[in-house]
Amino acid sequence: MNVRAGWMLVRRTWSSWMQSRSFFFLLAFGWLIGPLIYLFVWATAAGQGAVDGWTRGEFVAYYLVLINVNQITYSQTYWTVGMMIQMGSFSRLLLYPMAPVFDAIASEIAGKVVYMTFVIPVTAVLALILRPTLSTTVGNVALFVIALGMAWALRFFLGYAQALLSFWFTRTDALLAAQEALVFVLAGQIAPTALLPAPLDRLALLLPFRYMLGFPVELLMGRLSGAEILTGFALQGGWLLVALSLYRLTWRRGVRHYTAVGG
């Protein structure tokens, strides 16, 4: 796979999606409603004081950043990949001298551009109205960018590996829906993971979901100690390796199975 082909794929998918951008804007609107509700819940709870050391302004900042991170790491393609396998249109991709995962990655990138043209202005306006409190450093921003990239890769490859289970099973979207539900509870959406009650907080630290969403936000806000940052990256890296291995495994076995039973 060469970079130019990848770029052309992105451009093609992007221009195709821009044809129905209002549909994608509405989807993005739907996705930001959840975090927005929790923003208001926690901001109200903090009131003029603080909840576990979090002020109202910090909750606002946390959720506004989280809305953007969620949009960037949310992988819409794994829903479509499962469908393509079931409908047989995946065959078309198998005929190209290119690994089909690149097609999904290109849709991802194209999709982000479409969604972000909606989400960034919306959160910017919300920031003007709701006045977040965010003080960060260049170092934290750098760590945030790295963790954000890894969070995207982790969420994408774990989802893609699950979508590839469609090679064997007719419906895999239930599994994906379960993953999304766990992301909702354990990734930092319902509350920052540090505020979750025991033992959920410990579970959230160990499972992969926080590293898809909450971890980069906490890094940007400078809420983590040096040790927490190190263990965070170690766990995020570890889970990313697991996700990549699962992807390789399901891809190799899956394609062999697919070509054995027919698409």
Partner: protein, 327 residues
């Protein structure tokens, strides 16, 4: 060396058996499977540049065979080489040499002009951009779609879309082209245009073409050779004319008589059999060997205004094979 080499190809599937109604619950506990033999034992060779028609009734195993040849399916047993490669290894070198057009699956994207899809294909197949442009221009001109490739695909008719699809499939100049029902659902003139194009493309590039179609006109116009499969077995491999001779060893003679004699008594030669007599037109059947003697005799004995000797309709012959299962 042949371009497509197939020996003792077999493909069977395990399919779950589900009972109806409440009995289906049994399947939850223990799944029942049955084996479907899609291809039983097929062997053939195709030389470079040949155009071969691959026909058979629905479910005969045509698409399964094409999928194996294009690398989308693993066979259960047998040996296959296409352009010297084992298709299902799906090596890049192999995939760059083939193309598959499926009448019901598209590779040009719906919302954007075909040209944009071509640009992506150009990069995937690593075609230099000036060369890509030349090929697009050439193929689009051959198919008469130069004005259409800049329009979003969803604005095009089915026939126009198929032409744009063909351009997309041929940009990388495949040495082997699989056409699965390329004229499906298209009107007669578009079908004819596509046939002319495929013939011309084969002549210009020497590509090997394997075509499946339910329209006998496609096969008749394009394929010097026909492979007929039925229930996963090869039942005929040879020229179309040979198949007709074998299956329909007779010809139809149609004659129109002078108005005064149109309904009068007929003195027919003994080798001719009367099939139909309607509105002054008479249809006779005679064996191929007797045809010339019979026509000579008819012309001498009857006031013939018009006479035509025809092969029986190819559809009727094919139907005979599909129903009987043998040649």
């Amino acid at each position: 060396m042949s371009q497509v080499h197939v020996r003792n190809l077999q493909k069977s599937y395990q399919v779950p058996v589900r009972e109806t109604g409440l009995k289906a619950l049994r399947g939850v506990i223990r799944r029942q499977h049955s084996t479907v033999e899609a291809i039983r034992d097929i062997s053939f060779d195709i030389e470079p540049g040949e155009v071969v028609g691959f026909i058979g009734p629905n479910g005969a195993g045509k698409t399964t065979t094409l999928k194996i040849l294009s690398g989308l399916l693993h066979p259960t047993a047998g040996e296959v080489r296409v352009a010297g490669e084992i298709p299902w290894e799906r090596r890049g070198d192999y995939l760059r040499q083939i193309s598959m057009v499926m009448g019901n699956k598209s590779q040009v994207m719906w919302d954007i002009p075909s040209l944009d899809s071509y640009a992506v294909l150009g990069e995937i197949y690593r075609i230099p951009s000036s060369e890509l442009q030349r090929r697009i221009d050439e193929l689009a001109a051959m198919l008469g779609v130069t004005d259409l490739i800049a329009k979003p695909v969803r604005m095009l008719s089915l026939g126009e879309r198929m032409k744009c699809e063909l351009v997309a499939s041929l940009l990388h100049q495949p040495a082997v082209l699989f056409l699965d029902e390329p004229t499906l659902g298209l009107d007669v003139s578009v079908q004819r245009r596509l046939r002319e194009f495929i013939r011309e493309y084969n002549r210009r590039t020497g590509a090997t073409i394997i075509l499946t179609s339910h329209y006998m006109a496609d096969v008749e116009a394009l394929c010097s050779r026909l492979i007929v499969i039925h229930e996963g077995k090869l039942i005929y491999d040879g020229a179309l004319a040979g198949l007709l001779e074998k299956l329909a060893p007779f010809k139809l003679i149609r004659l129109t008589l002078d108005g005064d004699h149109a309904d009068g008594a007929l003195d027919l030669p003994p080798q001719a059999e009367l099939i139909e007599r309607e509105n002054g037109t008479i249809t006779l059947r005679a064996s191929r060997a007797d045809t010339s003697a019979v026509t000579a005799r008819l012309l001498g004995a009857l006031p013939v205004v018009d006479l035509a000797v025809e092969n029986p309709p190819i559809e009727a012959v094919i139907d005979q094979i599909y129903t009987g299962g043998t040649v």
